[in-house]
Each structure stands twice: as C-alpha cells, then as structure tokens.
Symmetry: D2
Subunit: 183 residues, 4 copies
C-alpha cells in the first residue's frame, strides 16, 4: 500500500490516455512524473503561518498527507498543480502557483524501500515538490476526510510526522526548511 493511493483515482482522461490496465503495466516500466504540494497560509510579510495537511482514511488507518498527483500527457506542470489542488482543496482555495518552475526539491519515490527517503510500493514516481500559498476557503474533496491547518511547530512535531507515510514527513520538513521555519 502506498502513500499515493489516491493518485490512482484520476479524473476521467480524454481518450488516447492510458487505460487503468495500461497504467498498471507502465508503472513497472517507467518512472512516473508527479507533483507534490505543501499548501501554506502566509502572514502579511510572506512568512509561513500555517501548513495544510490532508486527513485520509486508508485501509484501516487514518494518516496525514500532502497534496500529490500525476502529471498527465500534454499537461503543463502549472496546470497539474492547479488541478490537484482543486481536487483536494476545492474550487475556491485560490492557490498562488509560483512564478518559477523550479521545485524546492525533487522527491524520488521508489518501489523498493531505502533507496531514497521516499517509498511507494506501487511504482517509481518522481515528484516535483512545491510550496503553494492558498488564500481562499479550503474544503476537503474526494477521498480526503478533512484538511487541518497547523503551525510550523506542530507540523514538525513527532505526533504529526508519524502519521505521514511514504517519506512525506521528510518532504514536509524539507518544505519547512526551505521556507526558513523549521523549528
């Protein structure tokens, strides 16, 4: 079971895109391109005040997760970011997609544990990770039970980090470090 179970449930794709069965096959043949998003609330000076984490029910446990999803054929990364943020936070979150295409880090999820800090048993996924400020109202969608906003201190606490899977606890702390708010 992988951290990104939700990503299998993609919105319907135009014909010409991979069927579920084909995707299943390709997942053992190619690294798939993903985006990871750490949604944040900023104060007036641009400093991170809160981080938004999704609550997901997965199998028989509840865990916290970042926004994550696949980049589709002929989709710009910017558009993939918007699509996945909308999927998880709703249509009025008002995300501020960064001007620069450079991610703050690249998370390489391997099907084999231990090669990198990131693990996804289903596939080899390479995720470009972005911090995205959101200004609007967020409401959980699809298979997220809730979205919880917590401070950087709370986000870096043992209690929160142990509820994250696949290495997303590391990715979250990398985002805090990038924003200068790693406690």
């Amino acid at each position: 079971m992988g951290v990104m179970t939700d990503m299998a449930e993609l919105p319907p794709e135009p014909s010409g895109w991979l069927s579920d069965r084909e995707l299943q096959h390709v997942r053992r043949e190619l690294p798939l391109l993903y985006v990871n998003v750490v949604p944040v609330r900023l104060d007036a000076s641009g400093q991170v005040a809160e981080i938004g984490l999704l609550l997901r029910a997965d199998d028989d446990a509840i865990h916290r997760a970042l926004i994550a999803g696949r980049v589709l054929y002929h989709e710009r990364i910017r558009d993939a970011l918007i699509r996945h943020i909308e999927k998880d936070l709703g249509g009025v979150a008002l995300p501020r997609i960064p001007a620069s295409p450079t991610p703050f880090t690249v998370a390489e999820y391997f099907p084999t544990a231990g090669v990198t800090p990131f693990h996804d048993s289903r596939q080899h996924a390479v995720a470009l990770a972005y911090v995205v400020p959101v200004d609007g109202d967020c409401e959980p969608r699809q298979n997220a039970l809730d979205i919880v906003w917590i401070t950087p201190e709370e986000a870096a606490s043992e209690e929160v980090l142990r509820d994250m899977t696949g290495g997303q606890d590391t990715l979250l702390r990398q985002a805090l470090a990038f924003c200068g708010v790693l406690p």
Copy 2:
C-alpha cells in the same frame, strides 16, 4: 553616478542609525546589504505576464530601474522588501512576499566596473534579488516618474535593456530566466 542613487534617500531612521555623513564613510569600508525586487503580474497559472519597471530621471537622462534599497539595522529582509515596494509602488500594491528567504540570485555591485556584471560607483552593495508578484494598484512614488508594465518579450528587448544601468539589465534577464520566460 550609480544606478541606486535613490537609495541614498532613505526614510528618516530612528536615532542610533547612521547619519548621512557616517553612511558616506562606511560606504568605502564595508559591503552594504541591499534588496532588489522585480515586480511582476502573474496570470491564473502563476506564469509571469508582465514585469513592472520604474522610470527614473537621473541627472540628464531617463532610465528604467528595478526596485532597490538598503536593509536597515534590525530590519528583517521581508520587512525591507515591503518597505521598498511600498516606497516605489505605493501602499496598495499588495505585494506577495515569497515564503522562502532564498533569493533567485545575489547581485554584487562593485564600485569598480568589470569585477562582476554589476556596478555602483558609490559603494560596494550586495543585493539579494527577489521576484515579487503584486496584485494591487501601483502608482509611482518618490523619485520614480512612472511605472510601466511590459511583457517578458518587451523586457528582454534591446530597447528596454539599454535604458537600464549598473547591470540591472542583466539582473532583469536573470529574473526572466528564473521564471522560465526568457524569450
């Protein structure tokens, strides 16, 4: 004559800060810390649509300039960014100060031409350079005659770049490159 003439005209500082005469002296003894800002308008997907350039009258020529200014004692870089943007674009520009403190580049202005691409005859200034999206209304203040919004294509044109001094033409193109819109 340097590109950052305006920066000498700082807002009144609390007592304890340097007098003009002391600043004059220190300028030949220490590198001074500056910020440079490239103000941009973003489209809905976060891509740079327009860049804002200041028009300044300097001596007997008019040139185009980026926002620039000194970081004061006990001032956070975030607060220096806000102060200088407000100084040049007015109080309702609604700047989006970046979450991360990492600049897109560092511009080292030397009093001697040719050491780096950046030159300021008055001083050795090291500027942390940021791209800052602004959402609100901008109106020129202080010694800016006007602020003009131009596309990335226009910004990279010979015509615009030759009106910039001190190496700010290079800095502008570095900003376009960072945002993935260098024509």
Copy 3:
C-alpha cells in the same frame, strides 16, 4: 525531428524494461522524465569559465546540443546524470554531480510547439536540468561528433544559439543566468 533524437538510442536495458515498440506507444500517453545537463569548467573560485556543447549530425544538419537523456525505471536521478554524462563525454570526464537534487530549472518539452519554450515532436518530455562541473578529459561518444568548450560570452552569441534546437538555446541561457554569467 526532435532535439532529443539521440535519446531514443538508449543503452541496452535489463529485461523488464520497455521494448522500443512499447516506448513508442507510451510516448503518446505519458510525460517522460528526462535529465538535461549543461557541462561546465569552473575556475578556482567556482565561476563558470567554459560551457561544453555537443556537436551532433542530425538528418542533414549539424547542430549543437546539451547532454540529455531519459531516467529509467528504478534509476535515481543522480545515476541517470552519471550515465548520460558518461555516454556523451566518456568515462574519464569526472563529473561533479550536485549535492542537492533541486534542478536549476525544469524544461517541459511539448510535442506541440508554442505551449512552452521547449519542443520535442516525438513526445512530451519533462527534463530536470542541472549544471554539472566536469574536471577530467572529455571525448565525444556515440552520436556526438565532437564536444566544444566555449566561454559564456560565446555561448550566449546569436551564432551559437541558432545552432541549437527544441528550445535548448533558452535552456542554455537559463543556465548562464543561474550561474551569474549571462553576458
């Protein structure tokens, strides 16, 4: 004809990886993950002294190219960088793979021209782009006719840039901007 023709000619892959025919199919279904490398020679202070460009014969024209190639299933990006550098510069180039996984930019090559500055008629490829210093001897391999080392000034000249295809001229200037040596 695409800029990355050479990338189709991958070294033999372990069984389990995609056949040429499958790859052909997948290319119209998924964005493929690539790396782009700008090889550089640094002076003692770390400043870029020279950039290495490959000369390639393609169809009936000769063009200049950056190092580029696909990331394979279960391959770390670091290992893909080493493999492709070795493929193009030989086994004694002594590349200095960066400590950070963050690319200096992400180049999105679309099969449709004009969506981004990058174009590859064969596929939708997303390339993580890195500047990699090399210390050793480089000799052209595989389908590169030669490798030529030129200064940043030469690299940014009209003459050099027009010999590059698929938007790699833009990527090269982005690399120069990132390194602070855009003329």
Copy 4:
C-alpha cells in the same frame, strides 16, 4: 556571547578597512554581510556522505560550529568563501565553490533573540549560506580545536545539535534538507 565570536578575529585587513573600534561602532548601526559554509564530503554520485563540523572552545564551553565569516569591502562572495574555508580548514582542503551565487538559504542573525531562528548578541549579521564540497585534507586552524566529520544521521541527532549555538543547529538541518539527506 555570540556564535560568531571567532569572526571578530579577522585576518589583518589592508589599510582603508575598518579599525576594530570603527567595526564595533558600525555593528550597532548596520546589518553586516557574512557567509556561512557547511563543508561536506560527497560520494561518487554526489550525495552527501559526511558533514564537517568545527569544534570550538568558547568561554568555558566547547561547541560545534559551521564555518562563518564576514565579507570584506571589495571582496567577491566567492573569494570570501575561499578565504574563510582556508582559515578554518587549512590550505589544502580543495573546496568546490558552487557555480551559482544563489545561497541555499539566508540566515538573519539578530542581536535580539526570537526575531528569527538566528541570534548573535554582538550584531545584526545577514549570512548567505552555502554547502561546499571539499575534496582535500582538512586540518583545524586558528581557534578551531578540531574538525569532525559525521554522517547526516549523526548531524541531525539531538546530541550534536544541542552543541551548536546561535541557531546554527537550524542552519545545519536546513542544509541537510536542501541536499535531500535530512533523516
């Protein structure tokens, strides 16, 4: 007592630079520009294998420290990096100064605790922070008792971090996060 006590003890400067007494005065009037360096050993794939920490005796305690020092008038940041690395690691450390001038973060040391994660009771110092691979032999110089090489896991341990002062424990973890090796 400040983390950067050692930085007061600068090598003799050419005449024209600030006297100790002047520097003392300026320290209460202007932010001073510093560099911070995290020296690392890389494995063949560029991944951080070890981090070098200085052991310093300060007052009556021993603490661990990163390389730090002031940028002088008319000195390029690259040259300041080389000078301070040489000062602390000796002349045959063979540092690999990064090609890009962009630091991985900016650490703002305030004389008042709590404004930022960084604190220096003597002054307001703004440090551009770089990860610098070193290939050669390192031997402690000046007021460093020793230099110790430890793994990323050890570097992020409570035991090591609590021996660092002024917020350098945070800076060290930011460096690990930037390099993708935050445990």
